[in-house]
Symmetry: D2
Subunit: 342 residues, 4 copies
């Protein structure tokens, strides 16, 4: 079977396995206070150009989202986000279980705009019953989005400035950050992400690691006591160095970006190949997730031939959007095998 | 530096590293539904003698405790536990963050008794204001306890029968389960643990794995929808096979018990050596955690010599209990080096 | 100033004041276990035709909604409701603070249909990632709705049967129940409400009482331990008889329905009067809340003349829907004074 | 039957009933923004000597405690309190349901000391694993305590100064505030309570009102957005003026203190009478709750004679402490009838 289901279907980059083996008998303190975590923090601070950022390693994305947002909001506040945002759709209500509402905004392509945020905040405070309504307390976006789309530098800056205007933080879910930054359609750098947000995280699980997300807090207002929150939300790994070691390897020799570029190259090859055969797309294909529209017959044919992938909603009676995802490990022959079916 | 701080200071058994390397390029589905997880579940079901048990892999202990207890309790219920129980003391209020109170019972050595549980439940329902008081809804114990002590078969059976009498579940935190079962003082088997509880978990993080705990639900009443809870509490690893692969290795060739016996052998060697030199102990030394009472001068001397360990409360003006922990990886020469200081 | 803002702008029916005075020096036990509460429960059981229903008195609507829903749902479940539902819009995230998501369904007039509920449940279980999505665990509707509209007997029965099919409870928020039942457009009785739901409440705050809602649990599955939940959510009044006394008065001599009919008569008089003058309506005017569409100039003129009421969204550039609400106490001359302005 | 069960067994002062009747047909806005609430706030600000305090009216004590504490704490923080504190014992885990742990301190008589608070905070931060432990974020005390005892001015000032030293708020539960302030053993005034705390509440339910507590926030740091929290926790009464009207009456003509003095006079008469007959007391009898130690035979005799009261724990095989509570309405003949039995 050849899988295009997601970017978490394989293991990790080989350097991580080697490092785990090499360090296996070291004795270190736990809970993320070991030298590997400290070194990984230094590498990340350097990569993002913020020497004074706080960096914390968490296990996964849902955990990172809940921990960050719950650490920031007061009980009467909620998180503004796209109606397709991961926190709103695919975390089994983790944020609500932590007491907070997702204040969803409509979206066509997974992005939200500064104007929408501004309007939502204005609408809140101009409502006669505003105290009966959850107060916007944070803006959550994903880069790239759950639809594989991107924010431009101008769009992100506008969002950040709107947040600053109302003194609420902008939090960027970067579960697939590398795949966004390496897209030819992106005009953002890792440093921009750090500059135009208050908190963000660098996804490891989907970009080269076995697991792990590096949460970066750049706004000093949100730094205090964050480790308590990690522990409370179940994210403080006893053998915390497992996370440090992985991010050391990802942020050595520019590996995080290099492996992201591989995934993008594979997605582009697939996109170009499908386009050449006349396939249309549900969203513009800009990152490692592409959404071609296929006939239902073709979908069945591919599955019968051993290809695995998700559907993404019917387009009409005969056609359905599907999602093909490439990763840091996708073999080029898999792309070729898939294209050979068209 | 030679560390006796805890049993999570090193990596994992070499077989796990080998298996991770060997399986690295496999493509599998995520979220614990891959063949490795399925195989690991089979191995565990066999080891515990319960073919119909549900087995779930979570990342860490605090997460396992919170997820299990929150899945079982209704909002007005709390968890009966020892005042030294991990959920009451060292999880930054994770259970309270999920809405539930720890109903603590006094303990000298980390264990609680069936009589205490019975009395607590009786006291609850005989109180005129019982509806103003949190209702006992589950009993939580650790095996071995946070003080390194054990329950006998008789004690555990009595606890379980009391729970059955009141139709509330008994949940066993087995973060160090192997080290308990392999103690020469234990008269319990893995099958007993499964038979005399409703839910328990087999600790991997402290017993040979990089991370991971295997939650076992034997009582059908608590099986429904558990995977939703794992996802909500941030414990559903995208690359879930990382957990399956680790437990496959731990439960092949009786490795889980073999490596546990090593830790116990090292703890016994240390205990015997210290006793031979006249050292007294705070609790009876029965598992991989031992609590000798040392003079403050000796503590300082050991630290100056490069030994790392935790203190466990002053005994008198001149002496303090300390905790030495051995693990599946503790080198015998570390024991000898420490004993040479006495 | 003449207010049509809401139905909670005045005090209570005079019989309640008299009863409070008459019983003031009685000594009774607290927390709802006094003879007045017991008598009120009997009166309500008789009125709804369910001798074995559990009846509990809570202080207000948000509290009743949160307490009921949180007592029913498990952590991974949410409440299906109209996007305009009170729990989704105007309770400052009380349900989310109790850990649960509102699973909102689109609506034009405040109602939802059995088909929508069926489709939502089907969609949930047919999603490949269903365990990553909040599970529908209860259906919440308001009768009458927040838009002043009603369910027919056929519609309510269909909703209830769909809930039964999936074994999830139907909960009816009856904050304005009397005003719904007394509408000439209603084909439902109090007994129907009790028969076609698992839990509902009879609103007192907006229908004749100083405050108080009577929660009725007809499905035995949801009765257990409900008083603990009331206490935990802050709804167990120490001088609980205040609630019992009020519902005794409301349910004596069919008063609850009589006073509701007054509100409806006043709303109808206002509706007929406005219609006669050519005023259009945003929703069909069927209960004590009516939503005429007025020119912005007329709105200003009415306000300048001392009339107070809420706006309900712009219809076009020049016109806005407003809400006029009548109550059990609305003086007929207020209606006449308002009509005189048209 | 003559009841000494509690201070919430009767209705309210007659002035409140008169005011409710007089204002019944007034039309006012809801949710506590009406002129009666505003006037009551002014009266309270004057009585406490703090012109800039925020005053909010809530329905009951559990609700007030939960709302205040949840509005102040971050998720990883808990409330330091006596092990007998109401929040720890008799609120069905309302605080835990809001996500927070009660950090209980041992007490003999219901009070805690500045030294205990200081020690608890020091212990927290000096623990190697402090991030794994709930952080003290607020100190909760009751005045008078649940055991009917009092803090002296020196004790309260010391507690407040300790809180200030660590920048955490001191919150005083004043459910029976009047009965404390009017005790001959008290050296505190209402102004002192306001000066030596950050937030406190003035109990109405037990001191003359039908229901209601006035929460006073003197520290500006905790004022922001409090009304959202009231709404979220179910405490925002639609007909909010019911609370305003009651506190208007209680704070007119020094009535709150006058009626409190009546309860104290009745308790003193009862205490003196019992002492004269050789009865011993479990705690020193200083407020409206007294705790005599009676033989079990005497307890039975009193109950057979139609007296109702709570027991408060066995003292030895033959004797049990009981609780007699007087109130603002206790008739003097009830005291005499009880004394006649000794």
């Amino acid at each position: 079977m050849i899988r295009f289901d997601s970017d978490y279907i394989e293991g990790c980059i080989p350097e991580i396995l080697e490092a785990l083996a090499k360090t296996n008998s070291e004795q270190t303190v736990g809970y993320g206070e070991d030298p590997h975590c400290e070194h990984a923090r230094e590498l990340i601070r350097k990569a993002i150009g913020k020497e004074d950022a706080d960096v914390h390693f968490l296990v996964g994305g849902t955990q990172a989202n809940t921990t960050v947002i719950a650490s920031v909001l007061r009980p009467h506040q909620g998180a503004l986000c796209a109606e397709t945002g991961h926190i709103a759709c695919h975390e089994t209500g983790a944020l609500e279980a932590a007491g907070h509402k997702c204040l969803t905004l409509p979206t066509e392509d997974g992005t939200i705009t500064a104007e929408q945020v501004e309007a939502a905040i204005q609408a809140h405070y101009s409502d006669e019953s505003f105290e009966h309504i959850v107060q916007p307390g944070l803006v959550y976006i994903s880069y790239p989005t759950e639809s594989g789309t991107l924010y431009s530098r101008t769009q992100l800056k506008a969002l950040y400035e709107t947040c600053q205007k109302y003194d609420i933080p902008l939090f960027i879910d970067g579960a697939r950050l590398g795949y966004g930054l390496c897209s030819r359609y992106s005009d953002l750098t890792m440093q921009d992400i750090a500059s135009f947000s208050d908190i963000f995280y660098i996804g490891g699980t989907k970009v080269g690691a076995l697991f792990g997300e590096a949460v970066v807090i750049t706004n000093p207002k949100y730094k205090k006591d964050f480790r308590y929150h990690i522990k409370q939300r179940g994210g403080m790994l006893a053998k915390g160095r497992m996370l440090g070691i992985q991010f050391e390897e990802l942020f050595t020799d520019d590996r995080y970006m290099k492996i992201s570029r591989h995934a993008i190259a594979m997605a582009e090859k697939l996109t170009d190949g499908l386009r050449a055969k006349g396939v249309e797309f549900r969203y513009e294909a800009v990152t490692n997730q592409i959404f071609p529209v296929l006939s239902n017959a073709k979908i069945q044919e591919l599955r019968d031939a051993g290809f695995s992938f998700h559907t993404w909603g019917a387009v009409d009676e005969d056609r359905t959007a599907v999602r093909f995802v490439t990763s840091f490990m996708t073999p080029e022959e898999n792309i070729e095998a898939l294209l050979a079916r068209f």
